[in-house]
Amino acid sequence: MKFYEYVYRDSFVHRLDPRVKLAWLFVFSSAVFLTSQPWAVTAIFLSCIAVGLLAKLPQGQIWDSIKLFVILMPLSYIVLYLFLIGIKWQAVFEALVFSEKFLLLILASIIFTMTTSARDMLLSLVKIKVPYTFAFMLTIAIRFIPLIFKETNNVINAQRARAHEFVFSLLRPVDTVKSFVPVIIPVFTLLLKRAYELSLSIDARGFGSQKKITYPDRLKFGADEILASVAMAGFLFFALKML
């Protein structure tokens, strides 16, 4: 299950500038650790679920990927707290609040990655003054990593079709490494070839012909972003001070 993958939806949250979402992720997840007010934590936690609903994300898929945490984390904390604090209702209560904090971290990160495409993420990096060449390198990495996996898998299949068996054993490190040579060599050859072709085509498109580069200027800090930032600040103030 790939819960970390970008899921396209036409929603307010998806359209927001990644910088606002990044700020939300950092501020909200640090906020829950700065307060020990149970109602404040719960309010922030619920707000996070609300953001997820607003983003129209596939609930079933998210639930599938986090259900283990949702069940196991409170349980294990309850056991731990019962030991630490003694057999009291307070222990159960505190354990639940503490689990809530961690679940919020997980949920917020999932919402962030599911609503922010890699390319918008990279553009926002350029906007916060990360050098373009560096962002470009990251783009290439994101683009080619799945391809490398696919290719490696093909090589493994091609060698298995010739009855090759892989050794996975810590006790026989030399044999393990040896058994991977028939995969490593073709994969490297394929990668080098790909890298070479890639470099030729980057040259052919004039990369590095001059210093000034125009990159896609898609991100705008507009009314929606201001609205979202104000709403976030207002909600946090309310949650932390009033509850």
Binding site: R119, R143, D203, A204, R205, G206, S209, I213
Partner: protein, 570 residues
């Protein structure tokens, strides 16, 4: 002004033999098509047009290449990119952005063009290639056709486009082209843009390029001889590094000399047999000139035997829960059959093959190879009965010599050394690579590498051979010699299963039985003539009739498959 001027150009890669010999060319406008056998130096010549030779590729050169008045010796590829947009052979490795739009914007961005102007160019390139639906798609999710389109668009957008020009292009392929177009170059160089495309998409790409050629020079290398002759304004033939013929397409096509260098498409060969001039390129060229005088129902020669060597018993397969790749597949294959499994990319052909050789196991149903269930057998036992030669030989080659490469599988079977030696030698002899036995496999041509992969499978002794797209990327003459080998295997008792995506000519010519896969299901299974007679099945699987069959179809007999069939009906 001559836009491309090549004067006495010679080139050899460092330490290698001459690849290009005394090339002299002048191109002023229009659509220039370059054809020639595999390995004749066509791709190398492309690399010289934007300065990759001599600036990025090491080698020895003499002579001059002047493009748009600029000597490529003095201007680096990065500068030449202002004039020359290049679309390379492999769309997959020339797209490096996360969506089509960014890909196309990359080229002009490198020249510091304003974002407003870039947006305009991107929009134009996308319109020209008819790829609006691809704008936000990532190259990973595209078909090769879509990628190619993007690359072309990216090359186009590199130079400012004219307003109001309305031109159409396919997905990966489209993307590659779009990306090249975004730089709006004066010259668009394309190396085999249709190699990974189905015939319909290839036709579409050529039509788009033809329109683009009204305002830019198109310099195109291709194995699709039929299309080159129909679309190009000038055709040049290259052989062993030299340009041997150059002129108007009709003159070259009708010259006998052409046959010294290349094999023509089946439909052209037919018009040769019938002594019809000018040479035909599509069914319509011949149809009005002949008439079928007999009505014949061709017999199908499939014999279904009682004990199938492969029995796929109602299987389902999925990699990820809820996303089935194969559904309700049942298939029985008898000893000695020559079978083609056809279907588009993503129809499930490779997954079915991996299930047959036991690398993947079906979630539901069973597969029996010679009566043995793949779920219960070890792969090392199955490979003695059924072998799978992958499409890309580079996936498996890793040893220092051909001999070791072939011996690899045998060593995995723990055979005694003298038996390994004997079987290796026999297999290499069988595929005709004995003289290279001790050379480095990486130095082989693609056609030879395919033979090597077949040898390394054959050596293990299977009687059932699955070949995945054995003929992509090689020219017709090498295809024929490779198919001769495969037919011989079949005659000597091997069961041959050919996986084919686009090459229906090949299917029509060699297969006895065809299984059509579409969306993970078998939608038709029967004698080859019956399959091509079913228009609805072809439509559903997005397959195109080969030209000879189309000719038969026009003249009222859809069972016609080969030149001999046509001759027998006259």
């Amino acid at each position: 002004m001559k836009k491309i001027e090549i004067i006495g150009f010679n080139f050899s890669y460092s330490g290698g033999k001459p690849v290009l010999r005394d090339i002299n060319l002048e191109i002023g406008r229009g659509f220039f098509g370059l054809i020639g056998p595999s390995g004749c130096g066509k791709s190398t010549l492309c690399l010289a047009l934007n300065g990759l030779i001599p600036h990025e590729i090491a080698g020895v050169k003499t002579g001059k290449v002047i493009v748009c008045g600029k000597d490529t010796d003095k201007y680096h590829t990065r500068q030449m990119a202002r004039h020359v947009g290049m679309v390379f052979q492999n769309p997959e490795s020339q797209l490096f952005s996360l969506c089509a739009e960014d890909e196309i914007a990359f080229g002009p961005g490198n020249f510091g063009v304003s974002w407003r102007e870039i947006k305009k160019r991107v929009a134009q390139a996308i319109k020209k290639l008819k790829m609006e639906h691809l704008k936000n798609k990532s190259p990973e999710q595209m078909s090769s056709g879509e990628q190619q389109k993007t690359a072309i668009a990216a090359a186009l957008a590199m130079h400012p486009a004219d307003a109001g020009s309305d031109m159409p292009i396919l997905e990966k392929e489209k993307l590659v082209i779009a990306a090249a177009m975004a730089l709006d170059p004066d010259i668009l160089v394309l190396d085999e843009p249709s190699a990974n495309l189905d015939p319909r998409s290839a036709e579409e790409i050529f039509a788009i390029l033809k329109k683009i050629s009204q305002e830019k020079i198109i310099f195109l290398v291709s194995h699709n001889i039929g299309q080159i002759f129909r679309y190009a304004d000038t055709v040049a033939v290259m052989d062993r590094g030299a340009i041997v013929m150059c002129g108007a397409p009709a003159d070259i096509l009708n010259s006998e000399k052409l046959l010294d260098y290349l094999d023509l498409p089946a439909i052209s060969e037919l018009s040769n047999e019938l002594r019809l001039k000018p040479m035909a390129l599509v069914a319509e060229d011949i149809a009005p000139k002949i008439k079928f005088s007999k009505e014949v129902h061709f017999k199908s020669k499939i014999v279904y035997r009682k004990n199938p060597v492969v029995k796929v018993d109602d299987i389902d397969f999925e990699y990820v829960k809820g996303a089935p790749i194969l559904q309700d597949i049942s298939l029985e294959i008898s000893r000695g059959e020559f079978l083609a499994i056809v279907g588009n990319n993503g129809s499930g052909k490779s997954t079915l093959a991996l299930n047959m050789i036991g690398i993947l196991k079906p979630q539901r149903g069973n597969i029996f190879i010679n009566g043995k269930n793949t779920k219960k057998e070890k792969i090392s036992d199955l490979v003695r009965s059924i072998g799978y030669a992958f499409q890309n030989p580079d996936l498996q080659i890793f040893e220092d010599t051909l001999r070791q490469e072939v011996a690899f599988g045998l060593k995995n079977l723990h055979l005694p050394p003298d038996e390994i030696t004997k079987k290796t030698t026999d297999a290499l002899n069988y595929v005709g690579l004995q003289e290279y036995a001790d050379s480095d496999p990486f130095s082989l041509s693609l056609g030879q590498k395919r033979r090597l992969t077949i040898a390394s499978i054959l050596a293990m002794g299977p009687k059932i051979i699955i070949l995945d797209e054995p003929t992509t990327g090689i020219d017709d003459r090498i295809v024929k010699s490779l198919m001769k080998l495969i037919v011989r295997l079949n005659r000597e008792g091997h069961t041959v299963i050919n996986m084919i995506t686009h090459n229906m000519d090949l299917t029509a010519r060699y297969a006895e039985r065809v299984v059509v896969l579409s969306g993970g299901r078998i939608i038709s299974d029967g004698p080859v003539r019956k399959i091509f007679a079913q228009a609805d099945i072809l439509e559903k699987a997005n397959l195109m009739r080969p030209e000879i069959n189309r000719l038969g179809h026009i003249l009222g007999n859809s069972e016609v498959l080969t030149t001999d069939d046509v001759l027998s009906l006259l």
